[in-house]
Subunit: 120 residues, 2 copies
């Protein structure tokens, strides 16, 4: 069984909630799945919710940062939501600032922000 991360399509947005610790293989599979889904659905917004993630390492952080840049190249705006204190600390300590990544407190706020920016 291959535990892929489900990607939900809601209107013009894709919603992803990461609710368990990612291993490297699942993270790379997620990267590929998300880009394919953007291509396939023509979604122009993506919300990645990390509410349930309490540990992150540099590889996973890089994969997430990369997939955000890749999605942007494909024309989709990405908002990262629900980053926990411990995850924020780890990211900054690892030197990963995700400076040009939009964030929001939770899934609802992330989705609202996207809808605003996409002008709907």
């Amino acid at each position: 069984m291959n535990p892929r991360i489900p990607i939900l399509k809601l209107y013009n947005c894709l919603l992803i909630s990461i609710q368990w610790e990612l291993d490297d293989q699942t993270a790379l599979q997620f990267q590929e799945d998300l880009l394919n889904k953007i291509h396939e659905t023509g979604a122009n917004g993506v919300v990645i919710d990390l509410t349930s993630v309490d540990v992150i390492d540099s590889f996973i952080a890089k994969v997430i940062g990369d997939v955000i840049s890749m999605s942007r190249l494909m024309g989709a705006k990405v908002v990262l939501t629900g980053i926990q204190p411990a995850v924020a600390i780890t990211l900054i300590e690892l030197g990963i600032h995700l400076d040009n990544v939009q964030t929001a407190l939770d899934l609802e706020k992330g989705l609202e922000r996207l809808q605003q920016e996409l002008g709907e």
Copy 2:
């Protein structure tokens, strides 16, 4: 690694998209997780999307039917969306009619239907 099914909370609803074939253990874990999440969040609507499910067996169908009844007991309305032709055929052939379960074509329509019924 325990591949739990992610449950997303959006406003007063919970969204679940089942995107791989469920084994019995995962299905039972999902049942427990969903009921806990309803209790924890006070959500009064649930959309279970089966768009990506192309095979279903009698045990999984029973678990899904049960969790819908259980959620209803707890005060949450459930809409089942995206049932594929093959799954619909299997369910009826297995004698599982899910008569009192609301259905909709896809996640968007399921969510709209819930919002209507919940009067928002």
